[in-house]
Symmetry: C2
Subunit: 206 residues, 2 copies
Amino acid sequence: MARGSETRVRILDIAQDAVLAKGFDATSIDEIVAAAEITKSGFFYHFPDKNALALALIERHIEVEDAIFDDLFARARELSDDPLHAFLIGLRLLAEMLADMPNGHPGCIVATAAYQDRQFDRAVRDANRRAVLGWRARFRAMFDEIAARYPPREPVDLDALADMVNTVVEGGIVMSKALGEPGATVDQVLLLRTFVKQLFSPDRPV
Amino acid sequence: MARGSETRVRILDIAQDAVLAKGFDATSIDEIVAAAEITKSGFFYHFPDKNALALALIERHIEVEDAIFDDLFARARELSDDPLHAFLIGLRLLAEMLADMPNGHPGCIVATAAYQDRQFDRAVRDANRRAVLGWRARFRAMFDEIAARYPPREPVDLDALADMVNTVVEGGIVMSKALGEPGATVDQVLLLRTFVKQLFSPDRPV
DNA sequence: GGCGCAACCGTACTGCCGGTACAGGAAACG
DNA sequence: CGTTTCCTGTACCGGCAGTACGGTTGCGCC
Protein backbone atom coordinates (compact mmCIF):
# COMPACT_ATOMS: atom_id res chain seq x y z
CA MET A 1 0.00 0.00 0.00
CA ALA A 2 2.64 2.50 1.07
CA ARG A 3 4.99 1.63 -1.75
CA GLY A 4 2.20 1.47 -4.28
CA SER A 5 0.66 4.84 -3.63
CA GLU A 6 4.14 6.31 -3.45
CA THR A 7 4.86 5.33 -7.04
CA ARG A 8 1.46 6.54 -8.12
CA VAL A 9 2.10 9.92 -6.55
CA ARG A 10 5.52 10.08 -8.17
CA ILE A 11 3.95 9.42 -11.57
CA LEU A 12 1.40 12.17 -10.96
CA ASP A 13 4.05 14.66 -9.85
CA ILE A 14 6.18 14.05 -12.91
CA ALA A 15 3.20 14.06 -15.23
CA GLN A 16 1.85 17.28 -13.77
CA ASP A 17 5.09 19.16 -14.31
CA ALA A 18 5.32 17.92 -17.88
CA VAL A 19 1.68 18.60 -18.71
CA LEU A 20 1.78 22.15 -17.36
CA ALA A 21 4.99 22.80 -19.26
CA LYS A 22 4.15 21.19 -22.58
CA GLY A 23 0.50 20.28 -22.67
CA PHE A 24 -1.11 16.91 -22.20
CA ASP A 25 -0.58 15.53 -25.69
CA ALA A 26 3.05 16.51 -25.85
CA THR A 27 3.70 14.52 -22.70
CA SER A 28 4.43 10.92 -23.59
CA ILE A 29 3.98 7.94 -21.34
CA ASP A 30 7.46 6.74 -22.26
CA GLU A 31 8.86 9.99 -20.97
CA ILE A 32 6.98 9.77 -17.68
CA VAL A 33 8.03 6.16 -17.28
CA ALA A 34 11.68 7.05 -17.82
CA ALA A 35 11.58 9.94 -15.34
CA ALA A 36 9.81 7.86 -12.72
CA GLU A 37 12.28 5.01 -13.27
CA ILE A 38 9.63 2.41 -13.78
CA THR A 39 8.58 0.36 -16.79
CA LYS A 40 5.67 0.91 -19.09
CA SER A 41 3.91 -2.04 -17.51
CA GLY A 42 4.26 -0.34 -14.15
CA PHE A 43 2.53 2.74 -15.49
CA PHE A 44 -0.35 0.76 -16.93
CA TYR A 45 -0.73 -1.05 -13.64
CA HIS A 46 -1.64 2.25 -11.98
CA PHE A 47 -3.58 3.80 -14.87
CA PRO A 48 -5.59 1.80 -17.39
CA ASP A 49 -4.88 4.45 -20.03
CA LYS A 50 -3.81 8.05 -20.51
CA ASN A 51 -7.34 9.24 -19.91
CA ALA A 52 -7.20 7.86 -16.37
CA LEU A 53 -4.00 9.80 -15.83
CA ALA A 54 -5.75 12.99 -16.95
CA LEU A 55 -8.62 12.28 -14.59
CA ALA A 56 -6.33 11.72 -11.62
CA LEU A 57 -4.39 14.84 -12.49
CA ILE A 58 -7.52 16.97 -12.67
CA GLU A 59 -9.00 15.61 -9.46
CA ARG A 60 -5.78 16.23 -7.57
CA HIS A 61 -5.45 19.67 -9.06
CA ILE A 62 -8.97 20.62 -8.02
CA GLU A 63 -8.28 19.57 -4.45
CA VAL A 64 -5.15 21.70 -4.31
CA GLU A 65 -6.86 24.73 -5.82
CA ASP A 66 -9.75 24.36 -3.38
CA ALA A 67 -7.34 24.25 -0.49
CA ILE A 68 -5.61 27.39 -1.77
CA PHE A 69 -8.90 29.27 -2.08
CA ASP A 70 -9.95 28.07 1.37
CA ASP A 71 -6.74 29.36 2.87
CA LEU A 72 -6.73 32.65 0.97
CA PHE A 73 -10.24 33.74 1.77
CA ALA A 74 -10.09 32.41 5.33
CA ARG A 75 -7.07 34.63 5.94
CA ALA A 76 -8.92 37.52 4.29
CA ARG A 77 -11.90 36.95 6.54
CA GLU A 78 -9.67 37.12 9.58
CA LEU A 79 -8.50 40.54 8.48
CA SER A 80 -11.97 42.00 8.10
CA ASP A 81 -15.42 41.18 9.36
CA ASP A 82 -17.05 43.01 6.48
CA PRO A 83 -17.85 40.60 3.65
CA LEU A 84 -17.02 43.12 0.92
CA HIS A 85 -13.72 44.15 2.44
CA ALA A 86 -12.83 40.55 3.14
CA PHE A 87 -13.49 39.64 -0.49
CA LEU A 88 -11.43 42.54 -1.76
CA ILE A 89 -8.59 41.50 0.53
CA GLY A 90 -8.98 37.94 -0.73
CA LEU A 91 -8.60 39.10 -4.33
CA ARG A 92 -5.51 41.05 -3.37
CA LEU A 93 -4.03 37.99 -1.68
CA LEU A 94 -4.83 36.00 -4.82
CA ALA A 95 -3.08 38.61 -6.93
CA GLU A 96 -0.05 38.50 -4.63
CA MET A 97 0.07 34.74 -4.86
CA LEU A 98 -0.04 34.91 -8.65
CA ALA A 99 2.65 37.59 -8.64
CA ASP A 100 4.91 35.41 -6.51
CA MET A 101 5.05 32.83 -9.26
CA PRO A 102 8.13 34.01 -11.10
CA ASN A 103 7.29 32.26 -14.34
CA GLY A 104 3.64 33.07 -14.15
CA HIS A 105 0.93 30.71 -13.15
CA PRO A 106 1.83 27.33 -14.59
CA GLY A 107 -1.57 27.17 -16.18
CA CYS A 108 -4.78 25.66 -15.10
CA ILE A 109 -5.22 21.99 -15.89
CA VAL A 110 -8.94 22.61 -16.11
CA ALA A 111 -8.42 24.93 -19.07
CA THR A 112 -5.99 22.51 -20.66
CA ALA A 113 -8.69 19.89 -20.48
CA ALA A 114 -11.35 22.27 -21.72
CA TYR A 115 -9.36 22.88 -24.86
CA GLN A 116 -8.95 19.22 -25.61
CA ASP A 117 -12.53 18.40 -24.88
CA ARG A 118 -13.29 15.79 -27.45
CA GLN A 119 -10.45 13.48 -26.75
CA PHE A 120 -11.34 13.06 -23.08
CA ASP A 121 -14.12 10.85 -21.86
CA ARG A 122 -17.15 11.83 -19.84
CA ALA A 123 -15.48 11.25 -16.48
CA VAL A 124 -12.87 13.90 -17.21
CA ARG A 125 -15.38 16.40 -18.53
CA ASP A 126 -17.65 15.82 -15.55
CA ALA A 127 -14.82 16.32 -13.07
CA ASN A 128 -13.95 19.55 -14.83
CA ARG A 129 -17.53 20.72 -14.73
CA ARG A 130 -17.94 19.90 -11.05
CA ALA A 131 -14.83 21.89 -10.23
CA VAL A 132 -16.08 25.00 -12.00
CA LEU A 133 -19.51 24.67 -10.41
CA GLY A 134 -17.84 24.31 -7.02
CA TRP A 135 -15.96 27.54 -7.50
CA ARG A 136 -19.13 29.24 -8.65
CA ALA A 137 -20.91 28.16 -5.47
CA ARG A 138 -18.01 29.34 -3.34
CA PHE A 139 -17.94 32.84 -4.74
CA ARG A 140 -21.69 33.05 -5.09
CA ALA A 141 -22.03 32.57 -1.34
CA MET A 142 -19.63 35.43 -0.78
CA PHE A 143 -21.47 37.70 -3.19
CA ASP A 144 -24.80 36.84 -1.57
CA GLU A 145 -23.46 38.03 1.73
CA ILE A 146 -21.98 41.16 0.16
CA ALA A 147 -25.12 42.01 -1.78
CA ALA A 148 -27.23 41.66 1.34
CA ARG A 149 -25.27 44.43 2.98
CA TYR A 150 -24.39 46.54 -0.05
CA PRO A 151 -27.01 46.61 -2.77
CA PRO A 152 -25.26 46.57 -6.16
CA ARG A 153 -25.32 49.78 -8.19
CA GLU A 154 -26.35 47.91 -11.28
CA PRO A 155 -28.42 44.76 -11.51
CA VAL A 156 -26.09 41.81 -12.03
CA ASP A 157 -26.51 38.05 -12.06
CA LEU A 158 -24.54 36.94 -9.01
CA ASP A 159 -23.83 33.52 -10.51
CA ALA A 160 -22.24 35.16 -13.53
CA LEU A 161 -20.32 37.49 -11.23
CA ALA A 162 -19.09 34.50 -9.27
CA ASP A 163 -18.00 32.88 -12.53
CA MET A 164 -16.14 36.03 -13.42
CA VAL A 165 -13.48 35.32 -10.81
CA ASN A 166 -12.60 32.13 -12.61
CA THR A 167 -13.06 33.68 -16.03
CA VAL A 168 -10.57 36.42 -15.29
CA VAL A 169 -8.01 34.02 -13.86
CA GLU A 170 -8.32 31.57 -16.75
CA GLY A 171 -8.39 34.32 -19.35
CA GLY A 172 -5.50 36.03 -17.61
CA ILE A 173 -3.44 32.86 -17.83
CA VAL A 174 -4.18 32.58 -21.54
CA MET A 175 -3.14 36.19 -22.04
CA SER A 176 0.04 35.92 -20.02
CA LYS A 177 0.99 32.79 -21.94
CA ALA A 178 0.25 34.39 -25.29
CA LEU A 179 2.05 37.60 -24.39
CA GLY A 180 4.93 36.05 -22.53
CA GLU A 181 4.17 38.52 -19.74
CA PRO A 182 3.66 36.66 -16.48
CA GLY A 183 2.25 39.77 -14.83
CA ALA A 184 -0.79 39.96 -17.08
CA THR A 185 -2.89 37.67 -14.91
CA VAL A 186 -2.22 39.77 -11.83
CA ASP A 187 -3.34 42.96 -13.59
CA GLN A 188 -6.56 41.31 -14.64
CA VAL A 189 -7.36 40.10 -11.13
CA LEU A 190 -6.77 43.60 -9.79
CA LEU A 191 -9.10 45.03 -12.43
CA LEU A 192 -11.75 42.59 -11.31
CA ARG A 193 -11.14 43.85 -7.78
CA THR A 194 -11.79 47.40 -8.96
CA PHE A 195 -15.00 46.25 -10.60
CA VAL A 196 -16.32 44.49 -7.50
CA LYS A 197 -15.31 47.39 -5.29
CA GLN A 198 -17.21 49.85 -7.46
CA LEU A 199 -20.20 47.65 -7.98
CA PHE A 200 -20.92 47.31 -4.27
CA SER A 201 -19.76 50.73 -3.12
CA PRO A 202 -22.57 53.00 -2.01
CA ASP A 203 -23.07 56.03 -4.22
CA ARG A 204 -20.79 58.78 -3.18
CA PRO A 205 -22.02 62.30 -3.16
CA VAL A 206 -20.20 64.45 -5.71
CA MET B 1 -1.38 29.74 -59.16
CA ALA B 2 -5.16 29.77 -59.03
CA ARG B 3 -5.45 26.02 -58.65
CA GLY B 4 -2.62 25.86 -56.16
CA SER B 5 -3.91 28.44 -53.72
CA GLU B 6 -7.35 26.91 -54.08
CA THR B 7 -6.12 23.59 -52.74
CA ARG B 8 -4.25 25.37 -49.98
CA VAL B 9 -7.37 27.19 -48.90
CA ARG B 10 -9.34 23.95 -48.98
CA ILE B 11 -6.79 22.33 -46.71
CA LEU B 12 -7.01 25.26 -44.31
CA ASP B 13 -10.82 25.20 -44.26
CA ILE B 14 -10.95 21.51 -43.49
CA ALA B 15 -8.16 21.74 -40.93
CA GLN B 16 -9.81 24.68 -39.18
CA ASP B 17 -13.10 22.87 -38.72
CA ALA B 18 -11.35 19.82 -37.38
CA VAL B 19 -9.02 21.75 -35.08
CA LEU B 20 -11.84 23.79 -33.56
CA ALA B 21 -13.90 20.66 -33.08
CA LYS B 22 -11.24 18.31 -31.72
CA GLY B 23 -8.10 20.24 -30.98
CA PHE B 24 -4.92 20.50 -32.97
CA ASP B 25 -3.29 17.28 -31.85
CA ALA B 26 -6.37 15.19 -32.38
CA THR B 27 -6.50 16.33 -35.99
CA SER B 28 -4.38 14.06 -38.14
CA ILE B 29 -2.83 14.96 -41.45
CA ASP B 30 -4.14 11.73 -42.95
CA GLU B 31 -7.64 12.81 -42.05
CA ILE B 32 -7.21 16.25 -43.62
CA VAL B 33 -5.72 14.66 -46.71
CA ALA B 34 -8.65 12.29 -47.08
CA ALA B 35 -11.24 15.04 -46.65
CA ALA B 36 -9.46 17.32 -49.12
CA GLU B 37 -9.17 14.44 -51.59
CA ILE B 38 -5.48 14.90 -52.09
CA THR B 39 -2.50 12.75 -51.16
CA LYS B 40 -0.09 13.15 -48.29
CA SER B 41 2.52 14.36 -50.73
CA GLY B 42 0.15 17.08 -51.79
CA PHE B 43 -0.24 18.22 -48.22
CA PHE B 44 3.50 18.36 -47.61
CA TYR B 45 3.92 20.27 -50.82
CA HIS B 46 1.91 23.14 -49.32
CA PHE B 47 3.11 22.86 -45.73
CA PRO B 48 6.57 21.67 -44.71
CA ASP B 49 5.17 20.24 -41.47
CA LYS B 50 2.22 20.44 -39.11
CA ASN B 51 3.69 23.47 -37.42
CA ALA B 52 3.40 25.42 -40.65
CA LEU B 53 -0.24 24.44 -40.84
CA ALA B 54 -0.77 25.80 -37.34
CA LEU B 55 0.95 29.02 -38.29
CA ALA B 56 -1.18 29.49 -41.40
CA LEU B 57 -4.31 28.69 -39.40
CA ILE B 58 -3.46 31.24 -36.74
CA GLU B 59 -2.57 33.97 -39.19
CA ARG B 60 -5.78 33.47 -41.12
CA HIS B 61 -7.79 33.34 -37.93
CA ILE B 62 -6.30 36.62 -36.71
CA GLU B 63 -7.25 38.33 -39.94
CA VAL B 64 -10.83 37.15 -39.65
CA GLU B 65 -11.09 38.21 -36.02
CA ASP B 66 -9.67 41.60 -36.88
CA ALA B 67 -12.22 42.03 -39.62
CA ILE B 68 -15.01 41.10 -37.23
CA PHE B 69 -13.86 43.61 -34.64
CA ASP B 70 -13.48 46.27 -37.35
CA ASP B 71 -17.02 45.68 -38.48
CA LEU B 72 -18.53 45.45 -35.00
CA PHE B 73 -17.06 48.63 -33.61
CA ALA B 74 -17.48 50.53 -36.87
CA ARG B 75 -21.18 49.76 -36.75
CA ALA B 76 -21.23 50.78 -33.10
CA ARG B 77 -19.53 54.05 -33.96
CA GLU B 78 -22.16 54.78 -36.52
CA LEU B 79 -24.82 54.43 -33.86
CA SER B 80 -23.22 56.88 -31.48
CA ASP B 81 -20.73 59.68 -31.69
CA ASP B 82 -19.84 59.37 -28.05
CA PRO B 83 -16.79 57.11 -27.62
CA LEU B 84 -18.08 55.56 -24.39
CA HIS B 85 -21.53 54.83 -25.75
CA ALA B 86 -20.06 53.52 -28.98
CA PHE B 87 -17.82 51.14 -27.03
CA LEU B 88 -20.71 49.95 -24.89
CA ILE B 89 -22.76 49.35 -28.02
CA GLY B 90 -19.80 47.51 -29.53
CA LEU B 91 -19.62 45.18 -26.51
CA ARG B 92 -23.31 44.52 -26.82
CA LEU B 93 -22.93 43.70 -30.50
CA LEU B 94 -20.08 41.38 -29.57
CA ALA B 95 -22.28 39.69 -26.98
CA GLU B 96 -25.05 39.30 -29.55
CA MET B 97 -22.65 37.80 -32.03
CA LEU B 98 -21.43 35.30 -29.43
CA ALA B 99 -25.02 34.50 -28.47
CA ASP B 100 -25.89 33.78 -32.09
CA MET B 101 -23.43 30.92 -32.18
CA PRO B 102 -25.73 28.09 -31.18
CA ASN B 103 -23.00 25.78 -29.96
CA GLY B 104 -21.01 28.51 -28.33
CA HIS B 105 -17.97 30.14 -29.74
CA PRO B 106 -15.99 27.44 -31.50
CA GLY B 107 -13.00 28.37 -29.44
CA CYS B 108 -10.19 30.70 -30.05
CA ILE B 109 -7.28 29.22 -31.91
CA VAL B 110 -5.01 31.66 -30.16
CA ALA B 111 -5.84 30.13 -26.81
CA THR B 112 -5.47 26.63 -28.18
CA ALA B 113 -1.98 27.58 -29.23
CA ALA B 114 -1.23 29.22 -25.91
CA TYR B 115 -2.02 26.01 -24.11
CA GLN B 116 0.25 23.93 -26.29
CA ASP B 117 3.06 26.41 -26.17
CA ARG B 118 6.08 24.20 -26.15
CA GLN B 119 5.22 22.11 -29.12
CA PHE B 120 4.97 25.10 -31.42
CA ASP B 121 7.96 26.95 -32.74
CA ARG B 122 8.80 30.61 -32.34
CA ALA B 123 6.95 31.70 -35.46
CA VAL B 124 3.66 30.46 -34.07
CA ARG B 125 4.22 32.00 -30.67
CA ASP B 126 5.25 35.31 -32.24
CA ALA B 127 2.16 35.40 -34.44
CA ASN B 128 0.05 34.74 -31.40
CA ARG B 129 1.75 37.48 -29.46
CA ARG B 130 1.37 40.01 -32.26
CA ALA B 131 -2.34 39.30 -32.48
CA VAL B 132 -2.89 39.92 -28.78
CA LEU B 133 -0.81 43.09 -28.90
CA GLY B 134 -2.84 44.24 -31.89
CA TRP B 135 -6.08 43.81 -30.00
CA ARG B 136 -4.60 45.61 -27.03
CA ALA B 137 -3.70 48.59 -29.23
CA ARG B 138 -7.16 48.60 -30.77
CA PHE B 139 -9.03 48.77 -27.47
CA ARG B 140 -6.41 50.99 -25.87
CA ALA B 141 -7.10 53.64 -28.50
CA MET B 142 -10.80 53.46 -27.70
CA PHE B 143 -10.20 53.75 -23.97
CA ASP B 144 -7.86 56.70 -24.50
CA GLU B 145 -10.63 58.52 -26.26
CA ILE B 146 -13.15 57.56 -23.61
CA ALA B 147 -10.90 58.52 -20.71
CA ALA B 148 -10.23 61.90 -22.28
CA ARG B 149 -13.90 62.72 -22.09
CA TYR B 150 -14.87 60.79 -18.98
CA PRO B 151 -12.20 60.63 -16.29
CA PRO B 152 -12.30 57.16 -14.72
CA ARG B 153 -13.64 56.89 -11.19
CA GLU B 154 -10.73 54.79 -10.12
CA PRO B 155 -7.20 54.89 -11.44
CA VAL B 156 -6.75 52.03 -13.89
CA ASP B 157 -4.05 50.98 -16.32
CA LEU B 158 -5.68 51.46 -19.72
CA ASP B 159 -3.49 48.80 -21.33
CA ALA B 160 -4.65 46.28 -18.77
CA LEU B 161 -8.22 47.40 -19.29
CA ALA B 162 -7.79 46.93 -23.04
CA ASP B 163 -6.43 43.44 -22.40
CA MET B 164 -9.47 42.71 -20.27
CA VAL B 165 -11.71 42.55 -23.33
CA ASN B 166 -9.68 39.66 -24.63
CA THR B 167 -9.25 38.16 -21.19
CA VAL B 168 -12.97 38.01 -20.62
CA VAL B 169 -13.66 36.51 -24.04
CA GLU B 170 -10.91 33.89 -23.74
CA GLY B 171 -11.79 33.11 -20.14
CA GLY B 172 -15.45 33.01 -21.05
CA ILE B 173 -14.77 30.47 -23.75
CA VAL B 174 -12.86 28.30 -21.29
CA MET B 175 -15.73 28.53 -18.83
CA SER B 176 -18.43 27.77 -21.35
CA LYS B 177 -16.48 24.77 -22.60
CA ALA B 178 -15.85 23.49 -19.08
CA LEU B 179 -19.47 24.04 -18.04
CA GLY B 180 -21.07 22.97 -21.27
CA GLU B 181 -23.06 26.19 -21.13
CA PRO B 182 -22.58 28.15 -24.35
CA GLY B 183 -24.14 31.24 -22.82
CA ALA B 184 -21.42 31.70 -20.23
CA THR B 185 -19.21 33.75 -22.52
CA VAL B 186 -22.03 36.16 -23.30
CA ASP B 187 -22.72 36.76 -19.60
CA GLN B 188 -19.08 37.52 -18.99
CA VAL B 189 -18.90 40.04 -21.83
CA LEU B 190 -22.00 41.78 -20.51
CA LEU B 191 -20.44 41.94 -17.03
CA LEU B 192 -17.40 43.60 -18.56
CA ARG B 193 -19.78 46.05 -20.18
CA THR B 194 -21.24 46.87 -16.77
CA PHE B 195 -17.74 47.42 -15.44
CA VAL B 196 -16.71 49.80 -18.22
CA LYS B 197 -20.00 51.65 -17.99
CA GLN B 198 -19.55 52.22 -14.28
CA LEU B 199 -15.89 53.03 -14.48
CA PHE B 200 -16.39 55.93 -16.86
CA SER B 201 -19.79 57.15 -15.69
CA PRO B 202 -19.71 60.47 -13.93
CA ASP B 203 -20.66 60.36 -10.26
CA ARG B 204 -24.35 60.48 -9.91
CA PRO B 205 -25.95 62.40 -7.11
CA VAL B 206 -27.70 60.09 -4.64
C1' DG C 1 5.35 23.41 -80.51
C1' DG C 2 8.33 22.37 -77.29
C1' DC C 3 10.30 23.65 -72.68
C1' DG C 4 9.94 24.46 -67.93
C1' DC C 5 7.93 24.86 -63.74
C1' DA C 6 4.22 24.59 -60.33
C1' DA C 7 1.26 21.44 -58.42
C1' DC C 8 0.54 17.60 -57.49
C1' DC C 9 0.34 11.63 -57.35
C1' DG C 10 2.10 6.92 -55.66
C1' DT C 11 4.67 4.15 -53.00
C1' DA C 12 7.58 2.78 -49.67
C1' DC C 13 9.76 3.60 -45.52
C1' DT C 14 11.28 5.29 -40.46
C1' DG C 15 10.51 6.16 -35.71
C1' DC C 16 7.59 7.65 -31.95
C1' DC C 17 3.63 6.81 -29.35
C1' DG C 18 -0.50 4.71 -27.08
C1' DG C 19 -1.94 0.50 -25.94
C1' DT C 20 -2.12 -4.85 -25.49
C1' DA C 21 -0.65 -9.44 -24.05
C1' DC C 22 1.30 -12.28 -21.10
C1' DA C 23 4.69 -14.53 -18.22
C1' DG C 24 7.07 -13.99 -14.18
C1' DG C 25 9.13 -12.14 -9.75
C1' DA C 26 9.86 -9.84 -5.09
C1' DA C 27 7.91 -8.39 -0.97
C1' DA C 28 4.41 -7.56 2.36
C1' DC C 29 0.43 -9.53 4.68
C1' DG C 30 -2.55 -12.79 6.86
C1' DC D 1 2.81 -20.99 3.57
C1' DG D 2 -0.14 -18.86 0.16
C1' DT D 3 -2.30 -14.85 -1.63
C1' DT D 4 -2.31 -10.26 -3.01
C1' DT D 5 -0.01 -6.11 -4.33
C1' DC D 6 3.19 -4.06 -7.13
C1' DC D 7 5.59 -4.25 -10.23
C1' DT D 8 9.66 -6.09 -14.42
C1' DG D 9 10.70 -7.73 -19.19
C1' DT D 10 9.74 -8.69 -23.74
C1' DA D 11 7.29 -8.71 -27.70
C1' DC D 12 4.01 -6.91 -30.45
C1' DC D 13 0.17 -3.86 -33.01
C1' DG D 14 -1.80 0.13 -35.39
C1' DG D 15 -1.87 5.10 -36.01
C1' DC D 16 0.60 9.12 -36.95
C1' DA D 17 4.26 12.68 -38.41
C1' DG D 18 7.58 13.04 -41.51
C1' DT D 19 11.07 11.59 -45.38
C1' DA D 20 12.52 10.14 -49.89
C1' DC D 21 12.04 10.13 -54.43
C1' DG D 22 10.47 9.20 -58.95
C1' DG D 23 6.70 10.11 -61.95
C1' DT D 24 2.81 12.96 -64.05
C1' DT D 25 -0.19 16.71 -65.59
C1' DG D 26 -1.46 21.14 -67.09
C1' DC D 27 -0.50 25.96 -67.96
C1' DG D 28 2.41 29.86 -69.41
C1' DC D 29 6.05 31.48 -72.29
C1' DC D 30 9.52 32.00 -75.84
